[in-house]
């Protein structure tokens, strides 16, 4: 075998090395992305990927609620409500976390994100 195929060892090593890179990449790609936020208003449902930094604005019964998505975290930066207390809530990033502007009927929930931020939250 070794005599007929003197290159067998190197070829196999190359195949194994490349295959393991593919496996690592596959695990990395499919193990939890950064997820998205689901925004519910009195009229519609919106979804925004947490991986794209942007500022979006949705309509509630009182007016606009502005949401900032940055570095995989979402927060309310302004809202057409009387107290603006919603803007003081901590930014959310991991699955199940939520913030809301109740007077303006806007509820924001994180879906499908397995961010490590969860552990830090407990520590705080």
């Amino acid at each position: 075998m070794a005599k007929r195929y003197p290159t067998l060892l190197t070829d196999l090593l190359i195949l194994l090395a490349l295959a393991s890179v593919v496996i690592v990449l596959t695990l990395k790609t499919y193990s939890g992305g950064s997820g998205y936020i689901e925004v519910r208003t009195h009229q519609a449902v919106y979804r925004y990927a947490l991986s794209t930094d942007q500022e979006v604005s949705v309509d509630g019964p009182l007016g606009k609620t502005d949401i900032l998505i940055k570095g995989g975290r979402a927060s309310i930066i302004d809202s057409a409500c009387p107290t603006k207390s919603c803007t003081e809530q901590r930014a959310i990033s991991s699955s199940g976390e939520w913030i809301a502007c109740l007077p303006n009927h806007v509820l924001i929930t994180v879906v499908g994100s397995e961010s490590s931020a969860e552990v830090d939250d407990v520590a705080i």
Binding site: Y5, T10, L15, T29, V45, R47, Y48
Partner: protein, 367 residues
């Protein structure tokens, strides 16, 4: 043209023949690629010097761009990245590992490098980082096909005779008959103006109209319009738009949802890219001037390619026998008549370009 320049042009033409053959072979999955064009590159690794090899890589990518008409679109960047990076990786592997590695190992490395750099550039110029979701599938399929291709190349290297004869310095390569390329300066400039307008246009409606006008422009430049590739581009961008939701949910099924802004962005991008590729086809159809030494080697490559496809069409037997016969015939004296392409229909082209520019201007005004 010296013999070594002729050989560079000839090998590049063979890679073009192989990419054409790739389309003829039925495949179970539409996006599965065998990478047949890598076969000639693998076989010449033993005797080629680096400058010639680099020239062949460039001619392969640019020649494919000329044949498929995508030379003046974003697609050439993806193809150049894949060809150059994998070529260099294969060359380095062969020189470093020498007799410790067979063409199987080299083929694996080449395909892997090619796929990885193509995904990276595709993410940069067209699809966005969401395309990485396709990487595992593309890379694993690439490993499988390049393994088969490497085994085949190794077998051919041991049994085939053409490569060895070709590598011999005493081998004489005849010049093919050159097709006369009549440049159509006005048409070339008009299509370039149209490309600028396509880049500037805004809005779905305008871009939709521009796509149709571009198809008409492509036809006026005597390049056949194929609907498969644009449909595949549209579909893949729409699928990728599901990965990163953005905007109001129009339709949802569990964690997958069609969102308004993401959908609009994907459609806009797809229409613009389709129009650009079509305009690139038109531009190739106008025979833009190829000047200088690089230009003349490219012209020679295309002439050998025309000759190879011509001889290939007139051979019989299995694909391998036909390739062998085509190679033999194409290296000898030329007897095959060359076909002349129909000239560009300039008046119609100018009307179409004017319409495209007008549509783009109005679309920007309305925004």
């Amino acid at each position: 043209m010296s013999q070594s320049e002729r050989k560079v042009a000839f090998i590049s033409a063979v890679t073009l023949l192989c990419s054409t053959l790739e389309f003829l072979i039925p495949k179970p999955l539409p996006f599965l690629r065998l990478g047949l064009a890598n076969l000639p590159l693998l076989l010449i690794l033993d005797f080629i010097d680096l400058p010639s090899f680099l020239a062949i890589l460039l001619l392969k990518a640019i020649g494919q761009g000329m044949v498929s008409g995508t030379l003046f679109s974003y697609l050439i960047l993806i193809s150049l990245a894949g060809t150059l990076s994998s070529g260099l990786a294969m060359y380095a592997a062969k020189r470093l590992l020498k007799t410790h590695v067979s063409l199987v190992g080299v083929s694996l490395i080449g395909a892997f490098t090619s796929n990885l750099s193509q995904i990276a550039v595709a993410a940069l110029v067209a699809y966005g980082s969401a395309i990485w979701i396709a990487a595992p599938l593309m890379l694993s399929l690439g490993l499988a096909t390049s393994l088969v291709l490497g085994l085949f190349a190794e077998r051919y290297r041991r049994r085939g005779t053409f490569t060895a004869r070709f590598a011999d310095p005493s081998f004489i390569l005849e010049l093919p008959a050159m097709t006369e390329r009549t440049g159509q300066g006005v048409a070339t400039i008009a299509v370039m103006v149209a490309i600028a307008a396509i880049i500037a246009a805004e809005g779905l409606g305008a871009l939709g109209a521009i796509v149709l006008l571009s198809f008409a422009m492509q036809t006026a430049c005597r390049r056949r319009v194929r609907l498969g590739p644009p449909a595949a581009l549209l579909l893949s961008l729409l699928l990728l738009s599901l990965v990163e939701p953005n905007g109001r949910v129009l339709l949802s099924l569990g964690s997958i949802a069609i969102t308004e802004t993401a959908l609009l962005n994907a459609l806009t991008k797809a229409l613009r890219l389709i129009a650009l590729v079509s305009a690139s086809q038109a531009l190739v159809g106008t025979n833009p001037p190829l000047r200088g030494k690089a230009g003349s080697i490219l012209v020679l490559t295309l002439a050998y390619f025309a000759r190879l496809t011509h001889s290939f069409r007139h051979t019989q037997g299995s694909i391998i026998e036909r390739v062998d016969q085509a190679l033999e015939r194409a290296t000898g004296e030329d007897a095959a008549p060359t076909e002349r392409a129909k000239p560009v229909h300039t008046p119609i082209l100018l009307v179409l370009v004017t319409l495209i520019v007008a549509t783009a201007a109005i679309s920007r005004f309305l925004q």
